[in-house]
């Protein structure tokens, strides 16, 4: 009973904070992009534009909810939910702090600790792409279908390299459990052993969450928003939220796998986790303000002919070094 209550409280608190971060990430993104472009970004709603996410939410809520006549209705409705749900599930296995004692109970600061944590992560990360693919397909719109096809192709191409980039970390830690991986990094972060794997992971992760410079599925200029072209109102907001939730989740995973998770001197673990994740998220926004979108064939070329051999070589070198 006590365990159940503990779990429920943890889930509510973590998801509440996570969704709050996601909402304010939209503001952060617009602010940082604004500053990169030498303007202010949103600053009209409330002090420094701090009420902007709330205003956006209210606006999206009161928009007309359209379902096109050609749409495959059940799939059309369920697609944005898949995107958000899978992104939320990602955060469930990530340890974000050391154990604390509260009311005489030892509480581990993570929602759950699966022995196959990394496997679980990859399963749900791929599931997130289904929301995009199904949403584009079910819209009954040509742009949507093209966006969905691109998303599917991109997922297949980069999932491979993404998994391979993490294998080095798994080999060093000797475990698939994320809390064990974090504990193994108490003295030296994995990024020191696996600097290239970290770079590969970040590149693949950007492709995985369809973010600039790999934002093929929604490419505004050529596909007029691609997979979410027919979505409006809260369904669009769900896609939007899912996208940013994925961004946070992917950066949190990178923190856990490569940057030592919550480990760090002086400050409490949770704070370290937040700081590291924030730096990665900031990088993702920063690079969005810098790099133009790649062409479709360039993405495929990069994924299959450059990234895949490099990650394979990384795994090979790691194995050889460990065997010696």
């Amino acid at each position: 009973m006590a365990l159940l209550i503990e779990s429920i409280v943890k889930v509510i608190v973590v998801f509440g904070i996570f969704m709050g971060c996601v909402a304010y990430l939209t503001l952060l993104e617009r602010k940082v992009l604004g500053r990169v472009q030498v303007r202010y970004g949103p600053n009209r709603v409330g002090p420094f534009g701090l009420w902007q996410p709330i205003a956006d939410g209210i606006k999206a809520f009161f928009k007309e909810d359209l379902i096109p006549a050609n749409a495959d209705k059940p799939v059309f409705i369920i697609a944005p939910m898949i995107t958000v749900a899978s992104a939320l599930c990602l955060i469930a296995v990530i340890p974000f702090g050391d154990k604390i004692t509260l009311f005489g109970r030892t509480i581990y600061l993570r929602i759950t600790d699966l022995d196959v944590g990394i496997l679980y992560l990859f399963a749900f990360a791929s599931l997130g792409e289904y929301g995009v693919v199904l949403g584009g397909w079910a819209s009954g719109n040509k742009y949507g279908v093209i966006g969905a096809l691109r998303a599917a192709a991109q997922m297949i191409s980069y999932e491979l390299a993404l998994s391979l980039s993490v294998i080095g970390v798994i080999m060093i830690s000797g475990s698939l459990s994320l809390s064990v991986i974090v504990e193994k990094q108490a003295h030296l972060w994995n990024i020191v052993y696996q600097p290239f794997a970290f770079v590969f992971y970040m590149v693949c992760a950007l492709a995985e969450i369809n973010r600039t410079p790999f934002d093929m599925p929604e490419a505004e200029a050529e596909l007029a928003c691609g997979y979410n072209i027919e979505y409006s109102s809260m369904k669009f907001a769900l896609f939007f939220m899912g996208e940013y939730a994925h961004l946070v989740a992917v950066c949190a995973v990178a923190t856990t796998l490569f940057l030592g998770g919550w480990q760090g001197p002086f400050l409490p673990g949770v704070l370290w986790f937040f700081i590291k994740t924030f730096i990665l998220v900031f990088f993702c926004i920063w690079e969005r303000g810098t790099f133009p979108r790649l062409r479709y064939d360039q993405i495929m070329h990069f994924g299959w002919k450059i990234l895949l051999p490099l990650t394979l070589a990384n795994v090979l070198v790691t194995a050889i070094v460990m065997a010696l």
Binding site: R35, V36, V38, T290, F291
Partner: protein
């Protein structure tokens, strides 16, 4: 291949820490050039009277025919405009009326964002041109 990417990141980070060049419009306004041709106003003399003598040159030179003027005479035989009206919606702000005016009665101000809710509010009559109530609204 990597170095140009890092160079780009460096450049945008520099931009991120620089001060935005945005002019925050309703609070801050852009300074106009000295010869800027904004919305008209009537120049007044030291007695606070407008100088127009209703010669009709501004109405004659106006390319968009937006100035309507009806001349009258007072008991001393001095001409003055009984009615004078600029239709600010038709006006193209060429400034010919200012150039044509022999007595420096009409001038152009610096206001560039003359907006209002009704068409009637864009009829600049003598009263409004003298009091310039639309200039600093």
């Amino acid at each position: 291949m990597i170095m140009p990417l890092i160079k780009g990141l460096k450049y945008t980070l520099g931009r991120f820490f620089s001060k935005p060049i945005t002019i925050q419009y309703p609070e801050e306004r852009r300074e106009v050039a000295p010869r800027w041709r904004g919305i008209h106003y009537f120049n007044v003399d030291e007695n606070g009277m407008f100088k127009c003598v209703a010669c009709g040159l501004c109405a004659a030179v106006c390319p968009s025919k937006c100035i309507r003027i009806k001349a009258g005479e007072d008991e001393d035989g001095v001409r003055y405009p009984m009615e004078y009206e600029i239709n600010a919606i038709r006006c193209i702000y060429c400034g010919f009326c200012v150039e044509a005016c022999p007595v420096d009665a009409i001038r152009m101000g610096s206001k560039y964002d003359f907006t209002d809710y009704h068409r009637e509010d864009f009829r600049l009559t003598i009263d409004r041109l003298v009091t310039q109530d639309y200039l600093d609204k």
